[in-house]
């Protein structure tokens, strides 16, 4: 796995973009795990020039990658696998804590802060055309906040030491 990470570090691309449907993936990140922790989530911002859907994902670090939705109902956290996440044309869809995420399950080893995790995202258009986008997700600490990309100007985060 080390070689995969090394390769990933060299090939690190913050913004992945596909040729056909012009799908853009921004700020992809994965929450680090502690040893023996078998699952974690990946989050990112997706945008497509044309209507499409994220239908699946895969990664060399996990044998089982699923697209999930988290929701809160009557103060109960529920997480379910979803068949797809719709990407309406030109609209940014966020996979973020509290909503959709890519779930990495049955991890054979820990996901370490500072490394990158390669993800292959598969999109499918209404016409049934499939397209994949490769992403290098950065591993953020396990204790990353729910909106780690937003620093400053966020009242509720005052006093939070980074």
């Amino acid at each position: 796995m080390t070689s995969i990470f090394r390769f990933a570090a060299v090939a690190l691309a913050l913004i992945a973009s596909s040729a056909h449907a012009q799908i853009t993936v921004k700020d992809a990140w994965v929450r680090a795990t502690v040893p023996q922790q078998k699952a974690t989530g990946a989050f990112m911002q997706l945008q497509s020039a044309k209507d499409t859907r994220l239908v699946s994902a895969s990664s060399p670090v996990s044998p089982n990658v699923e697209v999930h939705e988290m929701s809160m109902q009557d103060n109960t956290m529920k997480m379910r696998q979803v068949p797809a996440v719709d990407l309406p044309a030109a609209k940014t869809v966020e996979l973020k804590p509290g909503g959709y995420h890519v779930m990495l399950l049955n991890l054979p080893g820990p996901i370490k802060e500072g490394e990158t995790v390669p993800l292959t995202l598969t999109f499918e258009s209404k016409a049934g055309e499939r397209e994949t986008v490769e992403v290098q997700a950065q591993v953020r600490p396990l204790n990353s906040g729910s909106a780690p990309a937003e620093h400053g100007g966020h009242g509720s985060k005052a006093g939070y030491a980074h």
């Binding site: 680090a32 974690t40 044998p63 103060n75 956290m77 997480m79 509290g98 779930m103 396990l142 006093g159």
Partner: protein, 205 residues
Amino acid sequence: MTLENTEMATMKNRPSRRTLLTMGGLALIGLSGCQRKMVFNGIDVSGSEQGRDFELKDPEGKTRTLADFKGKAVMVFFGFTQCPDVCPTALVRAAEVKQLLGKDGDRLQVLFVTVDPERDTPEVLKAYTAAFDPSFIGLYGDLQRTAETAKEFKVHYEKVSTGSSYTMDHTALTFVYDPSGKLRLVLRHQQSAQEFAQDLRKLLL
């Protein structure tokens, strides 16, 4: 009745004496006319028949009950380490709350009770809570004890299978005790660290 049930029953009896004493105390305050109604951001559950005590193990295998944390405010959250965002978010917030309390942060104990003891081994629990704050303690019981504890807290949890594994639906509330060991508040996941800290400052006065 199994041994576990008997223990649980004894456990439940213990705080009732304390409740009576405190009720007496409150009556006195009421008579002297200086009791001001405390207003909290969280739901005030003072005196309700829930979360009266627990008896769980810490990652070192030591049995822990509420009495171990007397003198401190205690925040209890139920969850599991494979949770992709609600549990880490709750623990990040708990660490923020501790910081917001400044010096009083030392008088706050955060407990993370796993609803997934089958996968959350002591090793994982220890490493997991330490990633947020070294003082946080992960607690676990066997399946029966976990169920009994959740029932006492009116916490719902459920194993739900997902494509290749399983996940746990679970109540995402934070239970807050005052330093005398009485359950006082239930805070919702949507509430901020600031709102949590405001309430805790009142309990730590």
